[in-house]
Amino acid sequence: MSSAAQAALRRSRWLNAGSFLALLAAWFLLTLPLVGGKPLVPPLFLPSPFAVADTFATLLKNGYQGKTLLHHIGISLFRFGVAFAISLVTAVPLGLWMGMNESVKAVLDPPIEITRPMPKLALLPLLIIWFGIGEVSKIVIIVLALFPILSISAMQAVRAVGTRKIQAALALGASRRTIFRRVIFPASLPGIFTGIRVSIGLGVTMLVGAELIATTAGIAFMAMSASDFLLTNVVIVGVLVMAVIGYALDLVARALENRIVHWGGKEG
């Protein structure tokens, strides 16, 4: 990397940190009794960072409504994890198949494309009738949202594999099976990972949406329930925990991506 590029990178790091600190400072300024003993924004609307930190510690120790904070986080992660795993192992192979086979694509593309723009959360009332208010309806709604993204990204990744790479493999004597396993699949991985990262963001959103309705555990449930009692501190802890979960999942996906598809996008 050139020194100019390094300088630009350092500069943008500083700006990143600065903008984050400015937000934090604004939070302090608005919520601490700096002038005349009363904060600018009453704690009911926005508690101070210290109060939120206190609440976080209490929730960790005593839990919320008889269940520990970690229990709520665990339930949420469980729902997300199961739904994500189901989507991954069904949608990606199907997408690969659609990319390889024109007939399979012709059959499966219309239902996926037609339902794709539909907001899946709208189906939740129906799913609750079908599957009840237990875990199944929540997992199904997340799977429904992730499936089209993962399958279409896998399909497009296959279709974008360069003809020359496939011709090269053919001319080297590779069988169809070998070409799929050692050329088409690895060449599709960067595209599949793009789908994975998009679906993590959407999956967390769906999780929160599903947990806001008809449930008794989960981190979004905790925030929603606390809102009924005007426990703003707990609500903010819930929001921050969800933000951290979303961010952490994206970090994990990015780390895996950098490791597994280290060549990503770079031509050779």
Partner: protein, 271 residues
């Protein structure tokens, strides 16, 4: 169908009155007029011609990526029906397996053809060494320069020990200095291995420097316009390009190609 005459030497590969038309109806493009061409064993045949003249189509036909509209493409007297490891292909760029290291790329052919991993690795090491990339065996294509990437492509094709090497403008995307060095390397490799080569290029100099036979093609639809049998390929002296004979032949082919390039340009403007 006739069986090959046992007395006459069978050409390594041949095109018999091959034509190729792409598309149909009004959009159809006649890429090749009947082309008849033989590649003798151990020959190094260079095809030169203006853009879009069907050079690459000829190569793709022999590789087995395309089928002729009429005529026959033969390999040792038998029709070509599809890609075959006997005919190694080197592309201009973008054909390396970017997720594999240099040695894995080169070992791909032997492994795909069922060689045990250890043997494939040994073969790969040999050819990686032959193209001078021994110390880059563990690197990935995106870590290499364009010239090195092309050497990987050449080593990968050679690792299958093919009978014919088909090279589609392998050096076209490289800078002039890199290209000259690689031309010398390819000449050395050809002198060592004596593979039959079909090489496509825009560069007359490259063709004269490397080829035992230079085939000049017309603008689309491609036909053979002229053939030359230069002897510079036998030389080991890079300075051969300054000999009067070389310069004279180059000027002559340049004249032929210029006419065809002008025709090709008019064709493009009329479209």
């Amino acid at each position: 169908m006739t069986t090959p005459d046992p007395v006459a030497p069978v050409a390594k590969a041949s095109f018999e009155a091959v034509t190729k038309r792409f598309g149909s109806g009004d959009d159809a493009v006649q890429a090749l007029e009947p082309v008849t061409l033989e590649l003798a064993a151990n020959a190094f045949v260079c095809l030169v011609g203006p853009s879009g003249c069907g050079k690459s189509t000829l190569l793709n036909l022999l590789a087995g990526f395309e089928t002729p509209t009429s005529g026959r493409v033969l390999m040792e007297g038998r029709p070509v029906t599809g890609p075959d490891p006997k005919r190694g292909v080197v592309f201009q760029q973008g054909a390396l397996f970017t997720w594999m290291s240099v040695e894995e790329n080169v070992a791909f052919g032997p492994t795909a053809r069922g060689k045990p991993a250890a043997e494939a690795a040994r073969i790969a090491a040999h050819y990686v060494e032959m193209v001078g990339l021994g110390s880059f065996a563990r690197r990935y294509p995106y870590e290499l320069s364009g010239g090195m990437q092309q050497r990987v492509g050449i080593a990968r094709a050679l690792a299958n020990d093919p009978e014919i090497l088909l090279m589609d403008e392998p050096f076209a995307a490289l800078d002039a200095q890199t290209r000259e060095l690689l031309q010398e390397q390819i000449k050395r490799i050809w002198q060592e291995t004596r593979k039959t080569v079909l090489w496509i290029t825009h560069s007359i100099e490259e063709a004269l420097f490397l080829a035992t036979e230079v085939v000049v093609m017309t603008a689309r639809p491609g036909r053979i316009k002229a053939r030359y049998a230069p002897t510079f390929a036998q030389s080991r002296d890079p300075a051969v390009v300054t000999s009067p004979e070389f310069v004279r032949m180059k000027a002559e082919i340049f004249g032929l190609l210029r006419e065809e390039a002008l025709t090709a340009q008019r064709q493009e403007e009329e479209r």
